[in-house]
Amino acid sequence: MELTLWTYEGPPHVGAMRIASSMKDIHYVLHAPQGDTYADLLFTMIERRGQRPPVTYTTFQARDLGGDTAELVKKNIKEAVERFKPKTLLVGESCTAELIQDQPGALAKGMGFDMPIVNLELPAYSKKENWGASETFYQLTRTLLKEKVSSSEKISPLRWKELGRRPKVNILGPSLLGFRCRDDVIEIQRILSEQGIDTNVVAPLGASPDDIERLIDAEVNICLYQEIAEASCEWLRRNFGMEYTNTIPIGIKNTIEFINEVHNKLDLPLTNKEELENKSKLPWYSKSVDSNYLTGKRVFIFGDGTHAIAAAKIAKEELGFEVVGLGTYSREMARQVRATAKDLNVEALITNNYLEVEDAMKKAAPELVLGTQMERHSAKRLGIPCSVISTPMHVQDVPARYSPQMGWEGANVIFDDWVHPLMMGLEEHLIDMFKHDFEFVDGHQSHLGHTATQTKDFLNSDEKKEKNSKEGIIWTESGRAELTKVPFFVRGKVKTNTEKYAILRGIPEISDETLYDAKAYFS
């Protein structure tokens, strides 16, 4: 049993709903009790969808449990098929139905329908939403294409040359309730098209079962979100020989690497290499003199695997930040996140507990947080600016404007979204200059005006502890006065370091000089 106050991911059947709702001509019969329909609002409210998710809930009740819940399942399947006439039927169960073992998938298969039926077994007590989405997309792909496995020759990435047409790729992974997927697809299709590459199928977002059957008309698969599409890409590689890409095109370097990877796989010459760096404004904006103040900004990153890893690379290599924390709630991607963290000399945080994330954030004393909506709240409490980079989805993450994360425009969006919450260079310079003026309010940040009091409270509570630190070290008047002159966002770190230094040297009282000694020692 695990105590959970809030969860980054829903149960696996919500992942299955994401796939079903992303697609056309599919219906999902979910063996589930009353109440599980709450998941509909994720789509109709957060994504503002104008259609209900294509899901029928069997809605069994306590009184049904003594009787024949299997009959109830069959009745609902029959009604759903007659009413919605899907081309492919998904059948599965939510957590409670898993316990009563009616095996709805097997029941559906015995009902004599001629459409393909995908039996979804998603273990609700050990797996989560993204796993459920990945498994559903994989089972669906497998069901619709398995008959073509034996008859089909291995697909060469060079096939387009023999066929005398432009190369074709599939874009796999974008789904509803995925972070900015809607716009990422447009951006990536635009980039590929510019390079002379056509999109065969985008799936699951907007695809029908017919489109899934057409996947093998392409030469290469673009695995756009590993959380959702890697299992399917791997199956297509093993059974049809289709190669797939590993680079996630978020950030300039990754986008260029992605374009390179696609060209290499297709053996398509890359003729506009020099142009690529200037497709986005990010490189120049980052180089421009105003961005000097971004150098070494301490940034804490937490999100899904794909976005957290990409953010770390952009932060370090494209904006010149210092990554002081990196983590993910995607256990499936823990290995990759750990590897990235190791390269950055930080310890990866793999957890589904937002309070642990908040603690780590506090300890890292960052100047910017890149996280989920939950980290936005935690950061707000701590008075630290934050930009949202990952699911779980919030209505604010489905903006009306075009706002991708991937490709050239994605890099533009990222520059704005990450840099605006920080103070602009000149502004920071001025605040630094005037901070000893009596008019100056400590903790002042123009864009965070409403949280200034919270920031102060946080500091005050910290200052109370300063007199007597837990190791019994005393802060003298001069030490305390000097500490308040340190910019508030690194004050916690300076305090900890100074105390650490005092203990190391056996200094019982911290004066202003101790502060400078410690500073020199740790720099």
Partner: protein, 418 residues
């Protein structure tokens, strides 16, 4: 009883389960914690229904069952013990801990009553443990509050003191207004259940006169009756009519004259009628379809027809306790079509056939109906807004007039909705 048409329907439903009521119950009692024993679905449901992210560490959570808990029951009890210990160590200010059963805990027959009993012994004098079920296989949405209140009744001491007991969660400001009005009427001893602090439970007995503020408390009423309480039969205090009759019924139980009631509430009524007028102008003659969810549907239908002159197409309700709803049903117009239960697809077919001007429904259905050109109001808003009493009648009407008003402003019809 007026000639009301009763129908029953079964099939797939689109309603919340009883766990959802934790969202308002935990705010009502700031010294209580609600620990759901369930699955990730339960945790996800509550956080999604609450609609927002959590701004501080919440006073509700889920002990999520894992595969190893399902293997053997003894394990599950020990595990729950561990979770509770951690929780109490983390939140020492908690005075009452509700162990809330869910669909999976009910199906595996996890005996939360025994767990609560053991924990009560161990934490005697520090934390009280109470258990009830908010599972979807047994409860609908607001029924969760019924379960929680019923579970508290055995903890309530007996007293023969005469008092008026308001039963059902109210917004604090509405509760204060009610208490002031009752005091003006001459009823001095007024208490509320649930109380604002879980440890300050009212004492009850044969001179306790219970006045319900919410229509979804069947089990609570039954147990209060068993404890000797007198249940005052009245419609519910929604709108001017319902609230007036509600005050009158209470006054009668305390032998206070009708004249006195009218004297006190007439100025309120006049003021409220004035405020209601502008909403009535919009609502008058508009056709209303209520889908089942909050259990407030019958009272809302009565208010929106009798006071706002809307026409009722269909009044859905998740379940119907005819005894408890008697006074309300009597006030409904002739031939009102009440449908108990739901087959969501068939019901939506009827919505489309009758093309109502306004549909009251859950959040899962609202935008899809808006996309079809049908104005909607979310039923969950009724349980989060202060809508009870004479002073709030215009605000209540406003919840329904606003979508129609908006529809008049925004005239584009064939919108693409993705």
């Amino acid at each position: 009883m007026s000639k009301v048409e009763f129908n029953k329907e079964t099939g797939p439903r689109e309603v919340f389960c009883g766990l959802t009521s934790i969202v308002w119950l935990h705010r009502r009692m700031p010294d209580a914690f609600f620990l759901v024993v369930g699955s990730r679905t339960c945790a996800h449901l509550i956080q999604s229904a609450a609609g927002v992210m959590i701004f501080a560490e919440p006073r509700f959570g889920t002990a999520i069952l894992e595969e190893k808990d399902l293997a053997g029951l003894a394990d599950a009890h020990e595990e729950l013990d561990r979770v509770v210990n951690d929780l109490i160590a983390r939140r020492p200010e908690i005075k009452t801990l509700f162990l809330v059963g869910s669909c999976p805990s009910e199906v595996i027959k996890l005996d939360l009553a025994t767990v609560a009993e053991k924990l009560n012994k161990r934490f005697f004098g520090q934390v009280r443990f109470v258990n009830y079920s908010g599972s979807g296989i047994e409860t609908t949405f607001t029924q969760g509050e019924d379960g929680a209140l019923k579970a508290l009744i055995p903890l309530m001491e007996s007293s023969n003191e005469e008092k008026l007991l308001l039963v059902g969660t109210l917004a604090n400001n509405v509760e204060d207004r009610f208490k002031k009005i009752f005091t003006n009427l001459g009823i001095s001893n007024i208490e509320s259940f649930p109380p604002r602090q879980s440890t300050e439970l009212p004492k009850i007995g044969k001179n306790t006169k219970v006045l319900l503020t919410q229509p979804y408390l069947s089990d609570t009423v039954r147990d209060l009756k068993h404890r000797g309480c007198e249940i005052i039969s009245a419609p519910f205090p929604l709108g001017i009519e319902g609230s007036t009759k509600w005050f009158l019924a209470a006054a009668k139980a305390f032998k206070i004259s009708e004249l006195k009631v009218h004297e006190i509430i007439s100025p309120l009524i006049n003021r409220a009628k004035l405020a209601l007028d502008s909403h009535k102008e919009i609502l008058k003659g508009k056709r209303l379809f209520l889908l089942p969810e909050s259990q407030l549907e019958i009272s809302l239908a009565r208010f929106l027809h009798n006071e706002c002159e809307m026409d009722l197409i269909e009044v859905g309700t998740p379940y119907l306790n005819k005894d408890l709803m008697k006074e309300e049903i009597n006030l409904l117009p002739e031939n009102t079509k009440i449908v108990e239960g739901q087959h969501v697809e068939k019901q939506l077919d009827r919505v489309r056939e009758t093309s109502p001007d306004l549909v009251v429904c859950g959040m899962g259905l609202a935008n899809p109906l808006e996309a079809e050109g049908i104005s909607t109001k979310w039923s969950i808003e009724m349980v989060f807004s202060p809508i009870h009493g004479i002073d709030q009648a215009a605000d209540l009407a406003g919840l329904f007039s606003k979508p129609l008003k908006r529809n008049q402003i925004l005239t584009s019809k064939s919108l693409v909705t993705h």
